[in-house]
Amino acid sequence: MIRIILPPHLRTLAQIGGDVELAVEGAVTQCSILDALETRYPMLRGTIRDQVTHQRRPFLRFFACEQDLSHDPPDTPLPAAVASGAEPFIILGAIAGG
């Protein structure tokens, strides 16, 4: 199972108590994780990436295994530790504004 950590506002929106655990079919990539996440929680569509272009929203970043993966192509395979569930895929809101 893939583990995903969401920003608090998105956990509230999707009524999720803690981390998300998802089964992902095929290659584990940013795109496949977000596809699975939005399928289970449709209210998250558009909050992490644009619904049409799938471009990451500018004030969100993707971290895993102490790396910033935000600028990787969305179909790039994620680290094996994310695919195995040993490490979470972190969706983080930028510390900006108030």
Binding site: P7, H9, L10, L13, M43, R45, G46, T47, I48, Q51, V52, R57, F59, L60, G93, A94, A96, G97
Partner: protein, 371 residues
């Protein structure tokens, strides 16, 4: 006995304020959607327990929330706002072409007759409609596509479609307003549109009497006289007696005619309210005195309403969607401030008192009068 429900959108959540017809004691519920900007909350005239809220965030984008129990519980509905066809360009602040990009919904206007039909005014300016309770949204592209779109430009708050008025006497007639493009009218239920800005004069654009480019801040209409419109422009308070075909200035005795909010008394179609703001660079009341101005003559002659409002050291603003009226026999007037106060008057504006004093900055106020 009648009840009143005040729907307040703020910079950090929504609040629902309720009272009986006396409007003396208030229950304050919220924040709903805490931490999110709530640009607007409005109820369906056809089903007062059906509410819609525009929830947005610079981080997470746009959410539309729907309630079927008067705001006790909410559910997120559709939030896909895609421009129809090629998005095209409008003018950027420096006059260069800039692609249309959806940012947020400023105003929600439920249908007068169907709780599942609702309109949304967007930034960048466009009009969307849902006919399934907010699940799916479609643009009414005739507005952006009617020809002048490339000349529209953003106001300081963005290029927003902030006013939607549905004509209760004619289901095909819709009025909208955009900062900074102006006012527009459709006479075929939103399929085609025409600018209705004749008589407006805006010295901050190259041609002060241009067909489009005017920074209209808000428009109000009394439902018994849908051909009479009142407008708070960037500067100037205006009225039209021919459904927007032409406008005349009615600023008259106002201390300043800059402002954002404007509304009409529920039972007196010639009684209108504005909150004068010092200037476009100083968004607070003149002399630090928070004064609502009332005209009982449809404009030009204005009186300050001050009883119960702070008359010193007050430097808040009242935004365009932050004033509303109830329908009780003694008409209630309500407005919210960027300082977090929501003021109410249960006697047509003669006296005021705060319902709440310390909310986040108020973005919008709507009122429902309930049986």
């Amino acid at each position: 006995m009648s009840r009143v429900r005040v729907l307040v959108g703020t910079h950090k959540g929504a609040f629902v304020l309720t009272s009986d017809g006396k409007r003396e004691q208030w229950d304050v519920n919220g924040p709903f959607f805490g931490g999110w900007e709530i640009y607007h909350v409005k109820g369906s005239p056809a089903d007062p327990d059906r509410l819609y809220a525009s929830q947005s965030s610079g981080w997470f984008g746009q959410i539309i929330q729907r309630s079927s129990d008067g705001g006790k519980t909410w559910e997120p509905v559709g939030n896909k706002f895609a421009y129809e066809g090629v998005a095209g360009t409008h003018q950027w602040y420096d006059g260069t072409p800039h692609p249309w990009e959806f940012k947020r919904v400023w105003h929600i206007e439920p249908s007068l007759t169907d709780p599942d039909t609702v309109y949304a005014g967007a930034e960048d300016a466009a009009l969307f409609r849902s006919t399934d309770g907010g699940q799916a949204w479609s643009e009414l592209p005739g507005l952006r596509g009617h020809g002048t779109g490339p000349h529209w430009q953003p106001g300081a708050g963005g290029m927003c479609l902030h006013t939607i008025i549905l004509d209760p006497s004619n289901p095909d007639r819709i009025f909208i307003a955009i900062s900074a493009a102006g006012a527009f009218r459709s006479d075929d239920a939103g399929q085609t549109w025409n600018p209705i800005n004749r008589g407006l004069y805006s010295k901050y654009i190259p041609n002060p009497t241009a067909e489009v480019g005017h920074c209209v801040h808000h428009i109000a209409m009394h439902p018994s006289r849908p051909g009479v419109l009142f407008m708070q422009k960037h500067w100037d308070v205006m009225r039209s007696d021919n459904a927007g075909d032409s406008w005349e200035k009615i600023s008259g005795t106002l201390p300043t005619d800059f402002g954002f909010a404007i509304d009409v008394h529920a039972h007196e179609p010639e009684t209108i309210y504005v909150v004068p703001i010092k200037s476009d660079t100083e968004h607070y009341p003149p002399e630090g005195k928070l004064r609502v101005y009332r005209s009982r003559t449809g404009g030009n002659e204005w009186e300050p309403l001050t009883k119960g409002l702070p008359q010193g050291d007050c430097y808040v603003n009242v935004l365009r969607d932050a004033m509303a009226v109830d329908l009780l026999d003694s008409c209630g007037i309500y407005f919210g401030t960027t300082g977090g106060q929501v003021y109410a008057s249960s006697d047509s504006g003669d006296t005021w008192s705060p319902i709440v004093r310390d909310l986040p900055a108020v973005l919008s106020v709507e009122v429902q009068t309930l049986a």
